[in-house]
């Protein structure tokens, strides 16, 4: 495919790999977190870490938007989905995320009308086509997907559509990063910054990472060459004693973001005082809710959701795994109470999360270590 294959060129990958080896200090172990779930997917899909030297470790961050939704919020969504007047719509991978009592796929099997959509606009179309039903969109994601939810809400309002509602679970990227960085036991050398989020918010909001916490950030694209180049840029900063925000993804990310999208976000959403993150607990000002002007379209106001908080079991140590403090197998519930079939924390929910990957492929990693 033109304009895609160029960024997956194996020869250029090997060349970058050689430059990465040259940039590392022998004997030093580097831990670099890729914040975004999309990056984790690229690393896994192309085997990017096979092209890194053994002392450069990529730590998967908290940026998988469906995995960080806590169980209680999933349960509330399911309670809405079970209402007979509701057509409940969500993105595909949200359907398999477990709440306290099963997933949306289970709810569908139990008779709920749950449908997968690719865009909130698809949900709005369903609302137009089914005026006698309520159509609810389960909105998830960082600033990446929030503008499309905002625009859909604006359109629904402009068209006077009265049977479209949004169950808002949008989150923001900076507060969880700050929460991670605040931790005194953090063991990370630098960050590969989230490219998709930055197309909206820009690179500037990440300046606090080098300024306040002394860690380099490189905003990265999503093709395997993007990631290798970004890792190289982080290592160069470390080698040269620099510490700043660099933008590898200049072909898409403007340093100041997308002002129109930011405007739309500000018009439609406001910050919640707190929002719960699976495995990370409550983080202040990290979630978005609909402004009063959109109260008529807010599913949380329309339906009395149970709002029960399902506590993550105390033993879940996702936070420590994310910070690089412990390995998945050092967590107290790993492989016993927490398995890919019945996951507790975000690291086990996503098949690419650190714990799920270790559970499924740990044997393979052992083989590779022997080689």
């Amino acid at each position: 495919m033109k304009y895609v294959d160029e960024f997956r060129d194996a020869e250029l990958g090997r060349a970058l790999s050689t430059r990465i080896v040259a940039a590392v200090e022998p004997g030093r172990h580097y831990k670099i977190m890729e914040v975004c779930g999309g990056h984790t997917h690229t690393i896994y899909k192309y085997g990017v870490d096979d092209l890194l030297p053994e002392n450069v470790e990529l730590v998967h961050g908290p940026g998988c938007p469906v995995c960080v939704i806590p169980m209680g919020r999933v349960d509330d969504g399911i309670a809405v989905a079970r209402r007979s007047e509701v057509i409940f719509t969500c993105f595909g991978d949200m359907m398999r995320v477990p709440g306290g009592e099963g997933t949306l796929l289970d709810a569908k099997a139990g008779g709920a009308d749950v449908r997968m959509v690719y865009s909130p606009l698809d949900a709005l179309r369903l609302a137009r086509e089914n005026p006698e039903r309520d159509v609810v969109f389960f909105a998830v994601g960082f600033e990446t997907t929030a503008p499309s939810t905002a625009l859909t809400l604006m359109r629904a309002k402009a068209e006077g559509i009265e049977n479209f509602f949004v169950y808002c679970n949008h989150v923001t990227i900076v507060p969880p990063l700050r929460a991670l960085l605040e931790s005194p036991d953090l063991r990370l050398d630098g960050f590969v910054g989230p490219g998709h989020v930055s197309t909206v918010v820009g690179a500037r909001p990440f300046e606090f990472v080098p300024a306040d916490y002394g860690k380099p950030v490189v905003i990265s694209g999503f093709e395997p060459l993007d990631l290798l180049q970004s890792v190289h840029m982080v290592l160069r900063q470390l080698a040269e004693g620099r510490c700043e925000v660099e933008n590898q993804y200049t072909r898409v990310v403007p340093y100041d973001g997308n002002p129109r999208a930011l405007e739309v976000l500000a018009d439609v959403f406001e910050l919640r005082p707190h929002f719960e993150w699976r495995g990370l607990g409550f983080i202040s000002h990290s979630g978005l809710k609909l402004r009063d002007a959109y109260a008529d379209l807010d599913a949380e106001l329309r339906y009395a959701v149970p709002g029960v908080r399902v506590a993550d079991p105390k033993a879940c140590q996702c936070g420590e795994v994310l910070k690089g403090v412990i390995k998945p197998w050092e967590c107290k519930v790993f492989g016993t109470a927490c398995t890919p079939e019945r996951p507790i924390g975000t690291c086990m929910v996503s098949s690419e999360g650190a714990c799920a990957a270790y559970y499924n492929y740990g044997r393979f990693a052992r083989e590779r270590a022997v080689v």
Binding site: G47, D50, L51, E330, R363
Partner: protein
């Protein structure tokens, strides 16, 4: 490795080694997707209750092979075929990959009240034409009608009988390190054609279902490789990835796939890229995966490519000894990844 890590890995191994138990409170769509949930249902409930010891595409009894398959597809017609074609080809292919020449079929129909006579006539003509191409006779059947809304137009069940070919000794536990892995054509076309025909994605691409009978391909492989043909599977639900996982487990070997060698047509690559789906997990209805001893691989591939419809056949990988039970992919980028069995349907990602 620390003791704690060793213990964690051993615990996982113990859990994996246990026979699957069917503990779900209800049936979900995942149980029909051909992945882990389907296997839990089959190995955890059906096989023990019915006393089935070997699970294969067809049962073998006194030199005869017997198989049955039900077809539920929406829409009934799609680019490249219809439910009538699938109902014949799906069943004759289960016989073919068992190493049996298809002889006869029975046809069982569940029809929805209100189905138009034209629609029904079209599908029956499709069954007749597909049976003709596959060289089998339809020798009997059954018809039931259910109330409107109780089924999607029509459901079809076919049962097939075939005669085991003496040239082959196909066995899912026969894979040996060094064996070559062949596929008989472009991968992913049926599943993508159906997804696009449902019109949910507002994507248009020239992709047609690959539904076709595969006995000619198996016949050519048996002729070229004889007993060095270890095993053949048609890569239907769950795609090529699921076939490789099942056989790697059955034989206690690893499968190593070279991603760049897998034949995939450009429109399928494009559609899968946009939808966020891996074509190796997408269903096929006319593609087989064959495992051949290394010394016969070249001849088998050449023979396969001479079969009409298999011009794009390719060698996509090799069987290894380690790590047993796993499928590894060598990516075109130069890395490696594990290609696991699906849990349920492939679902697109938001991020």
């Amino acid at each position: 490795m620390s003791t704690r890590e060793q213990e964690a890995l051993e615990l996982i191994e113990r859990v994996r080694a246990q026979p699957p138990r069917f503990r779900d409170p209800q049936v979900t769509m995942a149980h029909g997707a051909g992945g882990k949930a389907t296997w839990t249902l089959i190995e955890g409930l059906l096989a023990p209750a019915l006393g089935l010891e070997t699970l294969a595409d067809a049962a073998v009894l006194d030199g005869l092979a017997l198989t049955t398959d039900s077809f539920v597809v929406k829409p009934l017609r799609f680019p490249g075929g219809s439910i009538g074609d699938l109902a014949v080809n799906g069943t004759v292919n289960d016989l073919a990959v068992t190493g049996a020449r298809p002889l006869a079929l029975t046809l069982s129909l569940v029809l929805e009240e209100g189905l138009s006579a034209d629609e029904l006539r079209f599908e029956i003509d499709a069954v007749a034409a597909a049976a003709d191409v596959a060289g089998v006779r339809v020798v009997g059947g059954d018809t039931k009608v259910v109330e409107r809304g109780r089924c999607d137009g029509m459901y079809v069940t076919t049962t097939g009988l075939g005669r085991l070919d003496e040239r082959g000794r196909l066995d899912p536990t026969a894979l040996r390190p060094g064996d070559r892995i062949l596929v008989s054509g472009h991968v992913g076309e049926h599943g993508v054609a159906i997804m696009l025909a449902r019109g949910e994605f507002e994507l248009a691409a020239e992709v047609r279902s690959d539904t076709r009978p595969l006995w000619a391909a198996v016949d050519a492989l048996l002729e070229a490789a004889g007993p060095m043909l270890r095993c053949v599977r048609d890569a239907t639900r769950g795609g090529v990835a699921s076939v490789l996982n099942e056989l790697a487990r059955a034989s206690g070997v690893a499968a190593l796939v070279r991603e760049a060698a897998v034949p995939i047509a450009a429109p399928v690559v494009g559609a899968c890229e946009i939808l966020g789906i891996d074509p190796l997990y997408v269903a096929n209805e006319g593609v087989l995966v064959a495992f051949v001893a290394p010394e016969a691989a070249e001849k088998a591939l050449a023979a396969l490519r001479d079969v009409p419809g298999c011009e794009h056949a390719a060698e996509i990988g090799v069987v290894k000894s380690e790590p047993p039970g796993l499928v590894l992919v060598e990516t075109a980028f130069g890395g490696r990844r594990v290609m696991d069995m699906l849990v349920g349907d492939p679902l697109p990602r938001i991020c």
